[in-house]
Symmetry: C2
DNA sequence: TGCATCGGATACATACATGTATCGTGGATC
DNA sequence: GATCCACGATACATGTATGTATCCGATGCA
């Protein structure tokens, strides 16, 4: 913490960020008003302007927090799956989809999707998002390669491309799930298709090409 | 056209809808202002309020237009592919991904994604969206079943579920493509993975279970 | 405990989008 | 070609979010 910064500052900052996540999830970024966020956090707009200069800045800060969170989570998943002795495709699929069941996950989905839309319209944001996505994807790709190797098989497609596919299924599947939660539980597509999919893009390692 | 309605009305209405698509794509729904839309269409706000009551109403009208468009397109794809004598998985994948290359496609993607976010937050909109998605999905599922049968194979998974997977890949893939267009051309994931995927979830029809 | 500074609250000025009410012009019907 | 009405333009009133300037209380340090 920088010099001359008291310890209540990080607390109110965190409160504002938490409130912002909820309000953005409920209303969307543009519809959400600074006052609503402050109200939810039990602070005045003075507190807001003392911590952030604009709503955008808050939005970016929120996304940064998500990046950290998501990196930690991905690492935890990888560690957990690799630690469980016997490597298995199902274990990966389970872990990936299970990580989507937390209550706040829906809120994060809404916020990050809105950030994605923002990024598509704004080159600068797109770079930032692409960079983050690339890191997460590479982590996933490495793990898949590792898993495949341990299963005595080998990929017939680029690992990064396959990771892109898994990410697409996850995001696209969540969209469908959240639109009709009782027809398609979150993570269902991943659970059902990851294994056959992986089987389809690998072959027995002993086979010659 | 209802009695007492002159013919310039549908023209200005269409102009407003077209302008709205562009402005919504550029700014997003909430950031877009009614005045910007009118400006783009070369009309005054008076024209707007004469045709629509709120920005939401315009938004819904735009989405309805998309529904029609998309139904026509899906029908055209199915017809085209089935007409081309030899049935093939690649032909389907090609047709599906090719349909994503029109210039206005990006704008529609942005608008419909925003509508999806709106639907996730609003039960009424969710019902409407779900109904539309279900129709499109069923159409796709029927065609897949037909294609699979013609190839002398049979599905090992529910056709609707598989259609859900394809839709997820398409939407999720487009998100990635529009964030980094030069790293992943729109439709690339579909093109690359539809065939192996279909192979993975079917088996030779002559095989006993 | 007293002092200096940080952090948050309050109040006000401003900008801006919205909606409505009214007016004028172009199109349809005779 | 004249009349009437639909349609769009213009002007104005209003609500509301934003940002800033100032004030007061809390926190940390000597």
């Amino acid at each position: 913490m920088p010099k001359g910064v008291t310890k209540r500052r990080p607390r109110t900052r965190a409160a504002l960020l938490g409130a912002a996540l909820e309000v953005f999830a409920e209303q969307g970024f543009h519809a959400a008003t600074i006052e609503q966020i402050c109200e939810r956090a039990n602070y005045s707009r003075g507190a807001f302007y003392s911590n952030f200069r604009t709503k955008e800045e808050l939005f970016f800060a929120l996304f940064d927090e998500h990046i950290d969170r998501s990196a930690e989570r991905m690492a935890a998943i990888v560690e957990q799956v690799t630690a469980d002795g016997e490597p298995s495709v199902d274990a990966l699929a389970q872990a990936l989809s299970r990580s989507r069941l937390e209550p706040s996950e829906r809120a994060w989905y809404l916020v990050t999707t809105e950030f994605t839309l923002h990024a598509i319209r704004t080159p600068e944001a797109a770079r930032k998002l692409a960079e983050h996505d690339a890191r997460a994807r590479t982590l996933l790709a490495r793990h898949i390669e590792d898993l495949v190797r341990r299963l005595g098989r080998e990929l017939t497609v680029d690992a990064e491309d396959f990771a892109r596919l898994l990410v697409a299924i996850r995001e696209g599947g969540l969209a469908q799930s959240y639109v009709e939660p009782d027809r398609l539980p979150p993570g269902e597509l991943d659970r059902r298709f990851t294994a056959p999919l992986l089987a389809a893009v690998t072959r027995d390692a002993s086979n010659a090409r």
